[in-house]
Structure formats: structure tokens, C-alpha cells
Symmetry: C2
Subunit: 440 residues, 2 copies
């Protein structure tokens, strides 16, 4: 006998059983629906691109992680995010797009990093971006948290916090302190504040040889907490004379004002001056979202505003703002914590069981129900009734319809609730009654 081939997926790659996949798709549908009601248009770009296109915006880490290979003479790579393909897409189709261009993309991306617990090499990203031509109104920055709020409410969460910051605030502070050159290192330390605490961060900043006066100012800024108004007032009282700092303060003040107007409750968003978002290209508003009860999951939806999307490809100034939800990781984290509701292994609402060889009546009933969007299966198995009901039970099909000779003669059928055991007799002329029961 030939040796059998290994069938599990590669490390860092995942696939779901039917019940999990149904739950995953439900989350994906909620995200898609939210993106659509906010006026975003679906766009789908290739998974494989020229390597130099994908790496045009990338840094060293990305280059190491990318799946890259040659086919013939072509240097190919698999996309590692949906933002670079968006930049290429907008550059390529600039003349055929209407700005502000609002697009969503749901798709898999690839990172060949060493797989660790909770890290994936193939995972879904769910992105939206609004791209302006030359300029983009700040109200778009305020609409983003509304979308995040809508999605996480719809996903069933009550307690989550959208943190908002503006890159210009710290950049302006660094300018005013004349420490722009160390800004990346300083931000890296600040990013660790929650994890390692104030004292450790202070030590790291001292190691960077920052003047005590500068460290003091940084911590004064980081100490600003409370309501959005409290933080904004605090920022103003710092009296830092720097154009960028003032612009950042003004922007965050405007953005949070609009977020309130949009109706996001105040306990679901706050200003958090410590968040930076690693990516270099953010230039204004940045977002992070955390589940209050599961902070260890980290940010479940992040993004920000960038001034320049496409300069590697075309000579245009196209600013944008966007977010990304890493759905594979989010699902995995929620699933591990038992927070994913697994209902059944099928979308089927009813199994029709013809009790005789003559299946014509059952087939016609199935067609009628399907025409009314009821997912129906017909039990074609010839084995005993117990086994056939076992199929419905194992999958979690909520209803069965028995069809025997009496039913065919009387033009009726019985709808049986598989949980309560209750049976309802329905005349085929009254099929809308069955549809109501099955679609509820």
C-alpha cells in the first residue's frame, strides 16, 4: 500500500470545522455589512504581485517575512497587507476613481514569520480606507470610530474602548524639545508604558541622554488623563509653542467633538496620548481598540491618518484614513476564551424526510421553500428513520418535515421542532406559515 500523505495544515495556517466556519463567516458578514452601510465600496486585488511593487513601501521586517519567489523571470510576492495593494490600485486607476474614494477589502494576507502562539502566516484582514484627492476633511477621521463602534456592538460587545491619539502632538512636542532625531526610540519606550510602567520608561529615556527637563515634559504630557475635554484642556495648558503640536491638539479636539455628535457613547472612546501605532506612515489621528475585559488580546482594530498614500507610484498627494481588523486572530482569541457562540454545523433550517420511494412531493416542497430563501436539505438516504434523524441531530438542523403517503394525499406536511419535539401540521397552500416558522 502506498504511504498516505500528511493532511494537517502548515504551521501558522488555519482552517475551521463547519460550525466554527459558520461563526467566523457571521463575523465577516457583520463587518462587511457595516462597511457597506457607511458607504464603502468593495475592491479585490490580486494575492500575487510583483515583489518590487509590494516592497516599495516596506521596511526591513516586512522584507524578511514576505513570501517571495520567482516564476520564470518574474520576481513575485504574496501580499502582506491590503494597504500597499490599495496604494497601487489607486495609482493605477486614479483617472477612473471618484474622490474621496471609500473602499473596503476583505481578504487573506501572508506573512512568513516564525509562527508563535496566536500568530498566523495566513490571515484575514478587513480594511477600510477613505482616500482624498489633495485633501481629506477631518470629519472622516471622526467617522472611523463610529464604524468601529457599530461593528463591535454588532459583534456582541458592550465593553470596549476606542483609543484616539494624534501623531502631531508628540511629533510637535519632540520638535519643541529639539529631540526629533531620537523620536522613534522615544516613541518605542512610550509604547511600553502600559506594560513596564512609568519608572522603567523613565529609565529608558534617561539612557537616551534626554535632558531631565525634556523627560519631565514628556511625562507631564503622558500624565494627561480623564475625559476628552480634560485631556484637551491639559494639552492647551502645557503651552508648548509649536505649530505641529497646536495643529495636533486642534485636530484631536475637532475629531472627538464630531465623534460625540455621531453618537458614540463616551465610555466607548477616549483620548490616549500613549498610543503611537508602529507604522511610520501615520501622520495624524491614530486609533486602537481594546476589549475592556480582555486587554491581553491587545488592539482588535487599529489604524490612522496618513498624508501620502501613493508617492512611490504616482506624483499625487492623496491623503487617507483607514483601519484594519485582523479577523483570523480576533476569532482565534475569542474562540479560545469561549466567547464565540457555536450553534450548529450547518446553515440548513429544515431536513425534508420523504418516507417512501416517491420523493416528488418532497422535492416540490423543497423548491418552494428554497425560492423563499429557506435553506433546505432532502434526506435521500434509504436507511432507517432513526439514522436519518441522526443526521439532522448531529448537524444541528433545527426542523424536520416528514412526508408520508397521508401527507401527499392530504396536501399537508408536519414541521417538527427538533429541540422541543413540537409538531405543527401545515397545508401546502399555507406554505408562508412554514416559511415564517423556519426563518425565525
Amino acid at each position: 500500500m502506498k504511504e498516505k500523505i500528511i493532511t494537517n495544515t502548515l504551521p501558522g495556517f488555519t482552517e475551521l470545522l463547519p460550525a466554527e466556519q459558520i461563526a467566523f463567516n457571521k463575523m465577516l458578514d457583520i463587518i462587511r455589512k457595516a462597511y457597506e452601510v457607511f458607504g464603502f465600496t468593495p475592491i479585490d486585488t490580486p494575492v500575487l504581485e510583483r515583489a518590487n511593487v509590494l516592497l516599495a513601501k516596506a521596511g526591513g521586517e516586512t522584507e524578511k517575512q514576505i513570501y517571495r519567489f520567482k516564476k520564470g523571470q518574474t520576481d513575485l510576492a504574496m501580499r502582506f497587507d491590503l494597504t500597499v495593494p490599495l496604494a497601487r490600485y489607486v495609482s493605477e486607476h486614479y483617472n477612473n476613481l471618484v474622490f474621496p474614494f471609500k473602499r473596503y477589502s476583505l481578504g487573506k494576507v501572508y506573512r512568513g514569520e516564525r509562527p508563535q502562539a496566536g500568530r498566523f502566516r495566513e490571515f484575514y484582514q478587513c480594511d477600510i480606507d477613505v482616500i482624498g484627492n489633495e485633501e481629506l476633511n477631518l470629519r472622516f477621521d471622526a467617522e472611523i470610530p463610529v464604524i468601529i463602534y457599530t461593528i463591535f456592538k454588532e459583534l456582541g460587545f458592550e465593553k470596549f474602548t476606542i483609543s484616539i491619539n494624534n501623531r502631531k502632538i508628540f511629533n510637535g512636542l519632540f520638535e519643541s524639545l529639539n529631540i526629533q532625531e531620537q523620536s522613534a526610540q522615544v516613541m518605542q519606550s512610550i509604547d511600553k508604558l502600559e506594560k513596564i510602567g512609568e519608572e522603567e520608561v523613565r529609565k529608558e529615556l534617561e539612557k537616551l541622554s534626554l535632558p531631565p527637563e525634556s523627560i519631565k515634559k514628556i511625562f507631564k504630557l503622558l500624565g494627561l488623563k480623564g475625559s476628552c475635554n480634560d485631556v484637551i484642556d491639559g494639552l492647551k495648558k502645557l503651552e508648548i509653542k509649536n505649530e505641529q503640536f497646536e495643529k495636533g491638539t486642534e485636530e484631536i479636539s475637532e475629531v472627538t467633538k464630531y465623534i460625540k455628535q455621531f453618537g458614540v457613547p463616551e465610555n466607548n472612546f477616549k483620548i490616549n496620548l500613549t498610543i503611537a501605532r508602529g507604522l511610520d506612515y501615520y501622520t495624524g489621528t491614530v486609533y486602537e481598540t481594546k476589549l475592556d475585559e480582555y486587554p491581553e488580546i491587545g488592539s482588535v482594530c487599529s489604524g490612522g491618518r496618513y498624508d501620502d498614500l501613493v508617492s512611490e507610484y504616482i506624483s499625487r498627494k492623496l491623503p487617507g484614513v483607514g483601519i484594519s481588523i485582523g479577523l483570523t486572530r480576533l476569532f482565534d482569541q475569542l474562540y479560545k476564551r469561549g466567547l464565540i457562540q457555536i450553534k450548529s454545523s450547518t446553515l440548513t433550517k429544515v431536513l425534508i424526510l420523504p418516507m417512501s420511494e416517491d420523493t416528488g412531493y418532497g422535492l416540490k416542497l423543497a423548491t418552494k421553500l428554497r425560492e423563499n430563501n429557506v435553506p433546505v436539505e432532502i434526506s435521500f438516504a434509504q436507511n432507517n428513520i432513526k439514522k436519518r434523524l441522526g443526521y439532522a441531530n448531529k448537524l444541528g438542523i433545527p426542523y424536520v418535515i416528514f412526508i408520508g403517503e397521508d401527507e401527499v394525499r392530504d396536501n399537508t406536511f408536519f414541521v417538527k421542532d427538533m429541540i422541543s419535539g413540537e409538531q405543527i401540521k401545515i397545508n401546502i397552500e399555507d406554505i408562508s406559515r412554514a416559511i415564517k416558522i423556519l426563518n425565525k
Copy 2:
């Protein structure tokens, strides 16, 4: 200035503009919906797999076309269809699946072949398969054409033909003629019947040194035409004494009987004894679907029954039946012929235009509409009204809502139909009226 990077997609890869993408997604949704109402469950497998897993079932052509590369020590390949990953999935999760296992997969597959007109290297396949454990009722073979019929009706086609054949018929004939060894070559010639005509096929068969008597029998069989009953009667009258032939005749007779019972009109399906479907693994029923008015497109939905899905991976007998729609190609062919209805570049139903700086009232209205699944955008641009309306016009947003000081004071708003120019005044308490208009 740095040189700009090429931004078009690679040959054989495609991406769509928003209006086309919306039309494409609509087709995809129709297919998904049909698969779901027939009781199929979504499954998503990785795009990247171990090369030996994907190539376990593959022949020489596939091996040449596959995107295959090494990352570290791992020999990777991109999936070239959705059937091989299904076989691996079913093998891997055998103990956690309920049989018959009905799954659908919608996803991209990759073939690195030399791109020709109308050929794609990255394209969507939309597959369903029913996998039985040890056995699978023949009625599942009959349900497949019902699904094809449902989908193509829903896609807006009236004139299409689902051709049905059974591999056992020709295999049995070849057995009875003792020419099994040449069967592959004979089938290849028969496959060309429509293209090159009877005389050329006859010449090819003569070159294979088939006895004249055998060629005569083959053409007698190929000559069977007419209604399903005509063909089946014709097959029986051939009086070929071969178990496989008789089994095939019986199966096709049963399958076509059930297809009628399911309600597929007789002008949408027929028996066509000339179709073979290239793939070796089909062992019973095979399907092809052609658009009657565009036969040059070729088959738009094909598939068949196979006895053995998983033997490369596990020692089980799992027969199945399934079909695949190559949606990227179908869309492309229809689009070229002007058969895709391109409506607008957005899903947005209404653009809200706040006429003053105070956008609070407009934001609240937007939230209410979105809560009722109406896709809404808010015009945040500060430029003149003509430009802002231009945005709606260019995208094809069907309605706009103006909000000025009067509207805020009176708790009203105007819904303007962008095509007819008609304006309807609505009180904000009566928002369900607006929802009805916008969702129609």
C-alpha cells in the same frame, strides 16, 4: 526624483473597477445564496499548502502550471483548484464531519500557465461537493442540475442547457469492444466531435486502428439524440451486454427522472453522450453547462461524480459529486459581450448634504438610516453644492438629502431622486417612509 514603480497587475491577473466589482460580487452572492439554500456549508482552506499534498492527485500538466516555491526547508505550492484541498480537508477532519458532507467553497485558485486571451492565472472558483461515507445516493447527482438551473436563472439567463452524461456508458462500451487500453485517446477524439465534425473524428479513430465494427458502434452510440427518453431507449436498444454499460444506462435514466421531478424544465437539460470532462477521476454522472446563445464561451459550470476522493490521504471510500463555476472567466466573457449590467460605482443609496457647519442633525439622521441597513454617506466636503452633487452623480448615488437650517428647525428633510429630480419632504419622526424609498 525617484523613478515610479509600474502599477498594473501581472499578465493573467485581474482587478476590477468599483462598478465592475459590485456587479461581480452580485454574481458571487447569487451563487453563494443558491449553495446555501441547497444546504451546503461554507469551508475555507489555505491558499498555500505543502506541495506534495496538492500534487498527490495531480497529473503532468498541473505540475507544470503550479506556483511552487521553497520557504526555508518547506516545499510550498499555491492551490490550483478547490477539490484537492477538499480531499485533504475531509481526510484530516474525517472524524469531525457528518456525512453526507455538503460543502461549498468560494475562493481564488492559481495556475501559472502561459496567459492566453481569456485565460487567468488567478481566478475565482465556486465549488460545491457532496461527499458520502462508503455510499452516496444517486439523487444527489440529480440535485446538482437543479442547483445549476437555480443559479443561472437567478443570474438572468433563460436559454442555457445542462448536458448530462455518465462515464460508465462509454467505459462499458469500450469494455465490451475490448478497447479499454485506447479509451483515453478515443475519448479525446470524441471530445472534439462538435469542433471538428464526424468525418474527422472517424479518421482519428481509424488511425488508432480500431476495428470498423467498433467504430460503427461508437458512432451509433454518439448518434443517439433527442429527449432523455429517446436517448435512454436508444441505449437500451443497442443491446450491449456489459455490466458497466447497463449500470451507466440505468443511472442516467434514474438521474434524469429525478431532475424532472425537481422541476428543471426539459429545455434546460439534456443527455449528451459526447461529453467526457477531461478529468480522470470522474466515474459516473458528468455535467456541462452552456449558454445557448454563446456556445463559444464553452462550459460555464461543470463537474461530475467520483468514486474515490481521499485514497491518497486516508484509507476510506468516500464517493462524491460536485460542480465548479469559474466565476472570473464567466464574468470576463459576459462583460466583453456587454452582458453585465453595470449600474453604479457605489452601494451607497443616499448622500446626506449638510448645508451648514453644524452637521449634528445630519449625523443623527445618517445613524438612523444605517441602523435600518440603508447605505449612507455624508458629504463632508466644504466646497460648493454643485461639486458636492457632482460626487453623487459621478458615483451614481440615487438619492441625496439636503439639510439646511430650516430642516433642522422643522425636524424635516428632503429626499431628492437624482434621476427624476423629484423631491419628497419627510418628517424625521416618519423616517420609515424614507427607508422605504431608499431601500426600494
